[in-house]
């Protein structure tokens, strides 16, 4: 044997750069996805990331994550990410593509998301010919929720909601979304591929890349449906599930190109920029009378910067308290946000809202570290007390603060606000007593703004009178208590 030349190795295939190097979702799973062994999502994520790498468009890609197992795609793809409500990804993608025409927008959706709750959104996005790329992952079942029947479930296939197998007579036939969309005029490219064997997977990767290239070229709507294994819910080994795609699923959902107008399609022109504000009266054919009178001048805007959380049980008026405050802020010319968060219960249950008032534009309506907490019951105190900023104010609806209620350096006013309201005539006005106390803290919010907000939100005169007296009682209570307010911690 002759002397051998020194061999050097170069990396031919490795993790695409469009993935994050570590995943921050959980402390213990920083290098592996949350997907089950053998899940098709991982394979599709990789071919998508590889195509983004190859086309050199990581910096202008926006991926829309759906609801379903791939809801956490934003933890993996190092691109722009938006997570959409169930089925709404094509609508969100439309908005992003139209407002940022230079972005490459990808709607990534499963079959439950796209073909059931989101059937309207995908139909109309396709019919409008939105220049998007849709990756439609079809595993013929609802997986994340434990295996219920989907519109795509095969005839005879068992699921938790079709335990005897899907029957055409009672559950209808599997929905062929790609074929349906291919009846529309606008779509440019629709192909169904599978993950049933090596050859199919290679073809799927080519199709995903083509669907992205179409968008780079400015062509219209592209969709790739990918038949994808779900070993866990199908109760198969990963290799059996792969074979099942090839041997069974493909018979119901034949692979192939259903629409290809990429050779003849013209690039979709970018939408016109929106008109300027001053052009609107002319467009609408109305007289230009300028801005309506009565809007406060900026110089009069009070100096308020409030990040507040209001929490209690449903029925205590938690949301109304926040709404009155936000409306009052609007009236005073402030930037405001009011974000309610509550369960499906109409009564009881827990309820809270985030409220922000500021002179400057508000970046996020979320208040994760409030400087004012209004806790209308003890569970709310336990839940949010520890999140408060130092130096903030905590108003607690109770005689005394539970011992472990607050560990931080915050001002505390613990009073039986509900009882005070009861003495005034109705315990349900406790929220307004607390709001009154709060208004003393945020002193610069004009009383007239609060009164006009309350008048708009509370229409019943009897209640309005009661609420006004409750507000006054709260203000009085705060003024009297200022000196003795405990300084915890």
């Amino acid at each position: 044997m002759s002397s051998e030349p020194e061999i050097t190795w170069e990396v031919a295939r490795s993790k695409p750069a469009s993935f994050y190097s570590t995943y921050e979702r959980k402390d213990e799973l920083q290098h592996a996805t949350h997907y089950c062994p053998g899940c098709g999502h991982g394979i599709i994520h990789k071919m998508l990331a590889q195509a983004i790498d190859d086309l050199g468009m990581q910096d202008r890609t926006v991926l829309i994550s759906p609801v379903g197992c791939s809801v956490f795609a934003y933890y993996y793809f190092d691109v722009g990410n938006v997570q959409a409500a169930h089925g709404r990804a094509p609508a969100v993608a439309t908005a992003i593509k139209r407002s940022r025409p230079g972005s490459i927008v990808i709607s990534y959706q499963g079959d439950g998301d796209l073909s059931a709750i989101g059937s309207a959104e995908i139909l109309h996005a396709a019919n409008r010919g939105e220049p998007l790329t849709v990756i439609f992952v079809n595993n013929a079942i609802y997986s994340m929720t434990g295996g219920q029947m989907a519109p795509t479930t095969l005839l005879g296939q068992t699921s938790t909601t079709s335990p005897h197998g899907r029957s055409a007579a009672h559950e209808g036939y599997p929905l062929h979304v790609s074929e349906l969309l291919a009846t529309l005029e606008a779509p440019v490219y629709i192909e169904r591929v599978g993950l049933g064997d090596n050859r199919q997977i290679a073809q799927a990767a080519r199709a995903v890349r083509r669907a992205l290239e179409n968008q780079v070229r400015g062509l219209g709507f592209s969709l790739v449906e990918i038949l994808s294994p779900c070993p866990t819910i199908w109760k198969m080994s990963p290799v059996e599930a792969q074979h099942w795609v090839h041997d069974v699923m493909e018979k119901t959902f034949p692979l192939g190109v259903l629409r290809d107008r990429t050779q003849t399609a013209q690039a979709v022109p970018a939408p016109d920029p929106p008109p300027t504000l001053s052009a609107v009266p002319r467009i609408l054919g109305v007289a230009d009378t300028g801005l309506p009178e009565g809007l406060p001048r900026v110089a009069d805007v009070p100096d308020v910067n409030l990040q507040m959380r209001v929490a209690g049980f449903g029925g205590q008026g938690v949301l109304l308290l926040g709404e009155v405050l936000a409306e009052a802020g609007l009236d005073a010319g402030l930037e405001v946000s009011w974000l309610p968060s509550y369960g499906p219960e109409m009564r009881s249950g827990t309820s809270n809202c985030h409220v922000r008032l500021a002179r400057e534009p508000i970046d996020s309506p979320l208040v994760t570290h409030p400087d004012v907490l209004i806790a209308m019951n003890e569970p709310s105190l336990r839940k949010f007390g520890s999140t408060m900023r130092r130096g903030g104010w905590m108003l607690y609806n109770g005689e005394t603060l539970p011992e472990e209620g607050s560990s931080k350096d915050v001002h505390v006013l613990a009073r039986p606000f509900t009882q005070i309201a009861n003495d005034l005539g109705d315990a349900r006005a406790g929220n307004m007593v607390m709001l009154g106390a709060l208004l003393e803290i945020a002193g610069s919010l004009p009383q007239t703004s609060v009164e006009s907000a309350l008048g708009r939100l509370v229409r019943n005169p009897r209640w309005l009178a009661l609420d006004e007296s409750a507000l006054a009682a709260g203000r009085r209570l705060m003024r009297e208590s200022r000196a003795e307010v405990s300084h915890a911690g």
Binding site: I7, W9, S14, K15, F19, V239
Partner: protein, 89 residues
Amino acid sequence: MTNTAHRDAGLLRVDASECKGCGLCIEACPPKVIRMDETLNSYGYRTARYAGTGCTGCGICYLVCPEPGAITVLRATRPRQIAGVQARP
């Protein structure tokens, strides 16, 4: 770098902390040079392991693997100069 293992056109690395032992690479590998390790990784999965020789560098294992970084495929940069090994284009 002149031992016999490196006469192959390809080389395979499996990151045991990412592999979940699904076995799709073992099924997909044309020369069948990937095995399942008997030992468990820290998450409790048996993981895929390269047999040590025979990799052609085709990259199919990478393509079918569901974990983004579990498999890295390397190719010899000058395979034609190696005696006794047919280089793949």
